[in-house]
């Protein structure tokens, strides 16, 4: 009942917004399925207004928010590229179709195909640090890890635990392209739609040393083990979030092409690397069948190098396997 009321509210809100902006630049996002749980994550203003929250907890949640929005403050310690959490999880981690983070708090611990084991929320966050931020996660149980967990959990306020049929989760999906994604077409889409912020060379832009627009490949970008390295994941992120403020601007084909182009560039090594890119690809094929890693593009095999970017090691210890046998 609760979710249905929320759902109706969210639907009408979305309709209202689309209508308001329709004459200028329409927002085109997928519809929610009728039976899905629609969550409206609380905002910082809600946090300030909630007197049931102990001041100390409020402080910890805000610390988590601050780390989430400016993860570069952990640069050299936990982050070894130019990324912050908010670069992929737009809208403070609350936004539908921008991989809202609160479902991690209501669905974990759960089994993850990525590492073939049950993962806790802390381990899920550690994955982001290890791959998307090419780094070394804050220690399990540490103050910063607690703060990030607290922010996730706060955003999940009111959401049913273990409900998995969640509206707007992840980045959504883009229908299979009519034509095989193409590097040259993707390059054109990139130059026309992305370069203004991310630079013609994809290296992003800085202002007085502060990352303004993140690089999309090279040492400052997510590594070969990051979810965004999967072409379909990047296509969905782009289709539903880019350019900023214009969800749905690109056609499905353009989203696929530009995602292919971006993910056909080099980036820091997959922390799970063993022996060769081809070997690693095969070992983690459940993941890498969606990336171009270990395959030949424009005459060279992607990921066949020992470059870990600014990170002085390959694999953080936090990435470890467990068994209950």
């Amino acid at each position: 009942m609760y979710s249905r009321i929320l759902m109706t509210t969210a639907f009408s809100l979305i309709m209202a917004h689309s209508a308001q902006a329709a004459d200028k630049v329409p927002v085109k996002l997928p519809d929610f399925e009728p039976e899905q749980y629609v969550h409206t994550a609380p905002t910082l203003a809600d946090l300030d207004a909630d007197e049931s929250i102990h001041p100390e907890l409020r402080k910890v949640i805000k610390r988590g928010y601050d780390l989430f929005m400016n993860t570069q403050q952990l640069r050299g310690e936990n982050v070894f590229n130019d990324m912050s959490c908010r670069n992929c999880h737009l809208g403070e981690g609350r936004k539908h179709w921008a991989a809202p983070i609160w479902p991690a708090a209501t669905t974990l611990p759960d089994y993850r195909g990525k590492n073939w084991q049950v993962n806790s929320l802390e381990e899920r966050i550690a994955g982001c640090f290890s791959y998307s931020m090419n780094g070394k996660p804050p220690a399990y149980g540490s103050d910063n890890m607690l703060a990030l967990v607290a922010y996730h959990q706060w955003l999940a306020r009111g959401a049913p635990v273990y409900e998995k049929n969640i509206a707007g989760r992840g980045f959504g999906k883009v229908a299979d392209p009519a034509q095989t994604p193409d590097y040259q077409r993707g390059k054109k889409v990139f130059q026309e739609n992305c370069a203004i912020c991310h630079g013609a060379d994809g290296q992003g832009q800085r202002v007085n040393g502060v990352v303004q627009f993140p690089p999309l490949w090279g040492d400052g970008a997510y590594n070969w083990g990051a979810g965004m390295a999967r072409v379909d994941t990047a296509a969905a992120f782009i289709k539903h979030n880019m350019p900023l403020g214009q969800p749905g601007k690109l056609s499905d084909q353009e989203a696929w092409d530009v995602a292919y182009y971006i993910n056909a560039q080099e980036r820091p090594q997959d922390p799970r690397f063993e022996k060769s890119a081809a070997y690693t690809r095969e070992k983690y094929l459940n993941f890498h069948r969606r990336t171009l890693y270990g395959t030949e593009v424009n005459g060279r095999v992607l990921g066949e190098h020992n470059n870990t970017g600014a990170k002085p090691f390959l694999k953080p210890e936090a990435l470890r396997s467990r068994t209950f046998d």
Partner: protein, 209 residues
């Protein structure tokens, strides 16, 4: 009602900028001479005029000033006061004027904080945006302190509220529509009058360059 101009892509922007490289390096002194017609409204130090809504120029990046003058000249950006001036400028003069104003530092007093609630609303929009309405934070593109990023994203901090407000209104109602990729058109189109007032008031109260 101006037509939506064809100035849409970064490729076009690059081509325009490349074609516009002046023969000689930009010169502040030559710029001072060329800027004589500008001074009546924008002042010699680029302070502009808050009461009349004329923007401060000293805080804009030189590339941004050049680009805007080009857009006025080409008719992509429309303004009955600016267009006749811009039409008379060649590329060299544009570059010199930009260099001149880029070298200025106007003494503009920070507007008094009269309405705390309005400023708080503005601060939220400027730094957090309102993503439930698909409004990204101003800082997402205009820089961590809203002091501008490159030629495409002008400085906002310390700009006159009257100017920011009039431009957001212009983006919203379509009288200004020459932004690359419709980036600003999209955002302003979702802002209410109250959003616009609040963001403008907050930005005007921030320290400029």
């Amino acid at each position: 009602m101006p037509q939506r101009n064809p100035f849409l892509g970064a490729v076009t922007a690059v081509a325009l900028t490349a074609a516009a490289i002046p023969a000689a390096a930009a010169d502040v002194e030559r710029g001072r001479q060329a800027a004589q017609p500008c001074i009546a409204c924008h002042q010699a130090d680029g302070a502009g005029n808050a009461a009349l809504g004329y923007p401060r120029l000293d805080l804009f990046a030189e590339d941004y000033i050049i680009q805007q003058l080009q857009h006025y000249k080409a008719g992509h950006r429309q303004n009955p006061l600016m267009q006749p001036f811009a039409r008379n400028l060649n590329e060299q003069q544009m570059a010199d004027i930009a260099a001149y104003y880029g070298a200025q530092q106007a003494a503009v007093p920070t507007p008094p904080a009269t309405d705390a609630a309005l400023l708080a609303q503005g601060e939220k929009l400027v730094h957090q945006g309102d993503w439930d309405r698909h409004i990204p934070a101003c800082t997402s593109c205009h820089g961590p302190d809203n002091r501008g990023v490159g030629a495409s994203f002008p400085a906002l901090a310390g700009q006159h509220a009257s100017y920011i407000e009039s431009q957001l209104q212009a983006w919203r109602n379509g009288t200004r529509s020459h932004d690359p990729l419709n980036l600003m058109l999209a955002v302003a189109g979702r802002m209410t009058d109250s959003d616009i007032k609040a963001a403008a008031a907050y930005l005007a109260a921030q320290p400029a360059k």
